[in-house]
Amino acid sequence: MTGEHRLARGGRVDRARPLRFTFDGHAYEGCQGDTLASALLANGVHLVGRSFKYHRPRGFLAAGAEEPNALCTVARDRARTEPNLRMTQVELYEGLVASSQNSWPARGFDLGAVNDLLSPLLGAGFYYKTFMGPRFVKGTTLWAKLFEPVIRRAAGLGVPPKEADPDHYANRFAHCDVLVVGGGAAGLAAALAAARAGARTILCDEGAEMGGALLCEPDATVDGMPAAAWVAATLAELARRGATLLPRTQGFGYYNHNFVALAQRLTDHLPHVPAGAPRERLWQVRAKRVVLATGAAERPLVFPDNDRPGVMLADAARAYLQRYGVKPGTQALVVTAHDAAYRTALALARAGVKIARIVDTRPRPAGPGLEAARAAGLPVTVGGTVVGTTGSLRVSGAMVAQASGTGATDFETVPCDLLLMSGGFTPAVHLFSQSRGKLRFDAETQRYLPGDPAQAQASVGACAGSWGLAAALDEGSAAGAAAAGSGAGRSHAVTGDHAGEGGGILGALPHGRDPARVKAFVDFQNDVTAKDIKLAVREGFRSIEHVKRYTTTGMATDQGKTSNMNSLAIAAGALGRTLPEVGLTTFRQPYTPVTFGTFAGAARDDLFDPVRRTPIHDLAAAQGARFEDVGQWKRAWYFPEAGEDLHAAVAREVRATRAVAGIFDASTLGKIEVVGPDAAEFLNRLYTNAWTKLAPGRCRYGLMLDEPGFVMDDGVVGRLGPDRFHVTTTTGGAPRVLNHMEDYLQTEFPELKVWLTSVTEQWAVIAVQGPRARDIVAPLVEGIDLSAQAFPHMAIREGRICGVPTRLFRVSFTGELGFEVNVPADYAAAVWQALWERTAALGGTAYGTEAMHVMRAEKGYVIVGQETDGTTTPDDLGLGGMVAMSKPDFVGKRSLARPDLVAPGRKQLVGLAIEGRTVLEEGAQITPTADPPVGTHAIGHVTSAYWSPTAGTPIALALVENGRARTGETVFVPMPGGAIAARVVGPVFHDPEGKRLNG
């Protein structure tokens, strides 16, 4: 037995395959084909959770994706614990473990329900009024520490696991001629027509089983087949024709240019997940044409206490009955403004459910549904309404009154354990709206319907406002054929259709009860009542977007699928406007929640962001290097010897380099080879310097500006020949500089014959710096005269080192005699090893980026991005001499004459000398006095600050207004412990004459 409320036959469940599961620790049995919702209803369980704010008992409202109440947590293990799942969409499997949310200690006895009594304090705007909250004592707030956490904990959804997600997620890009979203009657017909016309077709549906409403139509036939058989035949033909069929796949986002995102659930329905199987797959589909067949969702009616367990949408009850073979109650009262509910009442009556009353809110309903109900002897009240319900954990009665004359006492209580409601149907226009299609308001039926599509797209069936099986099938077929470019669709022979049904109501039903004492829910998931919306309007909110945020209506995980139209209508009524005047709130992606895992896909852990390692990385690691992240690069930071911390290691590395020599892995330097007959002219235009007269074999420090005249990059450029330059850039700047060069080459100077090639990864670079540098490299180099006369500072030679090709630069970023050995990356490790052995034998060191920074700061060499901030000119850095203003043009030249760039008072690079041993904070502000009043204008900031092992004092570089003119003045760096005095000095702390470079 799979539940005492299970019918003996009927529906699409397999009673021969019982499935055991637990809910809140209780064991139940359902069967194959059930959702968790249908299985619980088969066991008579209606109370499945507590509401978000008031902790009111809640049951199932719907049977599908729009369910607002019945959220649960499904746990396979601690890490595989998924909260906030809609029980109406959780497929049952053997051993499923689910639990309710937001109730403590139990969903039947919940202490948080005290919030319901406190509800006068928790109405619209509660969050804004409370959490901005009373401040009792200056500095501390009892409220924030004590009450707010309690309230926040009491309001909420499920709890996510703290463990990392152990599953993995797949991603697929797909292209097709026709994408059909929604596998109901309209979608199936569309896909079939498209596939028959030879179009590459993808059909997706959120359900485990395609067919949509056809799965709940046991009495209908299509083309002479029972509806379910037609579904099976259609799916078989689609598969045969090569269409991609994606059940359990939610089309959740519709983006530009017919780019549609689908989330496919792959394993959540399986009792045993195969090892290594991806859990979900993100499909990113680019479709030539899209057919939306997303259906419609029934609206609740808004009346007092319309949220008790057992109060359900009429169409949902029919789905439970006819698709799952479950009686959702024994005695039903139906309140409706739409004809379709009569069909539900008749089906329930046939299954043995007593129909206590059908209350039609319309004064003069008519049609075959009403006639059939009367013919079947079902009691019908016309022009009635429901003004309240009784019961606590399950509805026990409905207060039925006349719609006109709604006195509080003028009602009759009709006993029932199932209260079905239908406010009509809201077309699911979410994806259409996301596609930027314009919605139009159909005044006659009071619905927003798709207007002109903005992309190559068509909406068919119920989401387009159509009603009935034949209409859905024929529209779908026509749209599918048109999308495939093959003319007309076909029409279908249908019996058991309900084409004439209609009706609907928006907003709250009238009642005469004390509005302070009753709650008529609009948004069930966020506990928003009709009163809250009216209160928001009374408090002055006019925009529907503001009303939404103030009341939180439509802002829960269901995004108001069942509530938005009712809340709009209530707001419109309170504002005295029509619906179109009030406007619609935005339909946002995703249509239903999508896991982070699906979006992340493989981009996590090691694959989240590429890690770049130099060819010397492993050798440096073996030498004990600590690494730091520089962009995507791992760079050797320092090489500690036993017992050394960063400070001690850096001090030793600097002293050893200046006394003997050090080697440094500079492979991350950006490198661009600039080649062509116009290469020198191109560099003339891209750098401030003059390049024409630079002889082959010589280097120059190049300064690159952006067009507004600010320093954007720098680096040494070596000329290898008349038409060939080896350009280096900063480590982080290489892609930006190449993009900048390409931009000007392609678009401003296309007449220049120049080719640009990134060679960053092709050339590894080992800097050898220090007085003994020549002694280290000399024995390893062939074909290059290393003497100071033949190979002076700022020269470049090609030859061989350790038997492999090298571009050898004589340059220095330490102020010492220096070489930068460029070798093809594959040889770098061997060359590093050879150089390291020579260096170590002479008493030198390997040094890392920290020592490099200290040594360059001791020399006052700037780092672009540290001494510059995008508003720094060459003159600000004291590098005005690098700017060849005699050149007719270069990028940034015109801007150097801009008024702001030549105005007095610009910040200039200076050094700061500090008494004592305190190293300044980089970024610290600089003021002219020690204790400036609050609001004092800072005259500059510290850009670099280090302990200088060479000087034996702290040193700093800073940008200070009129800094060069302040040389000798004392300035102050205010810090929490008091201002630190500093004397403005030149930026070069070591060997200002530069004699050591020429050793």
Partner: protein, 108 residues
């Protein structure tokens, strides 16, 4: 995600491109300071057709120009850098606004 027609490679997903700002900004260093400031810093923000530059950075590497309707994101033309801006018809009139997310445009 846009589908961008590279004039050299054909239609490719936006992932392969990098936007490079407005097209047809003339670089003329001979102009006076206010005009040069316009060149550097002032851009219009059209509702409708906009000429913009893209680089097929993960493809052929070329910069080119695109005419895009900023209302619909429809791409109306793509053409090589240096070519004149083609004439394309203006997008249709706004018509009755959908008012989606337009609640704050409601008159008080």
């Amino acid at each position: 995600m846009l589908l961008i027609p590279c004039p050299f490679c054909g239609p490719r997903p936006e992932l392969e491109f990098r936007n490079a700002g407005h097209a047809h900004v003339t670089r003329n260093p001979a102009v006076d300071d206010p005009a040069w400031a316009e060149t550097l810093f002032f851009r219009d923000n059209p509702k409708g057709i906009m000429a913009e530059r893209w680089r097929h950075v993960s493809g052929c590497g070329r910069f080119f120009n695109v005419l895009r309707d900023t209302v619909s994101d429809a791409i109306l033309a793509s053409y090589k850098a240096g070519e004149p801006r083609p004439d394309v018809p203006l997008p249709g009139p706004e018509g009755e606004a959908p008012r989606i997310g337009a609640g704050d445009e409601v008159a008080p």
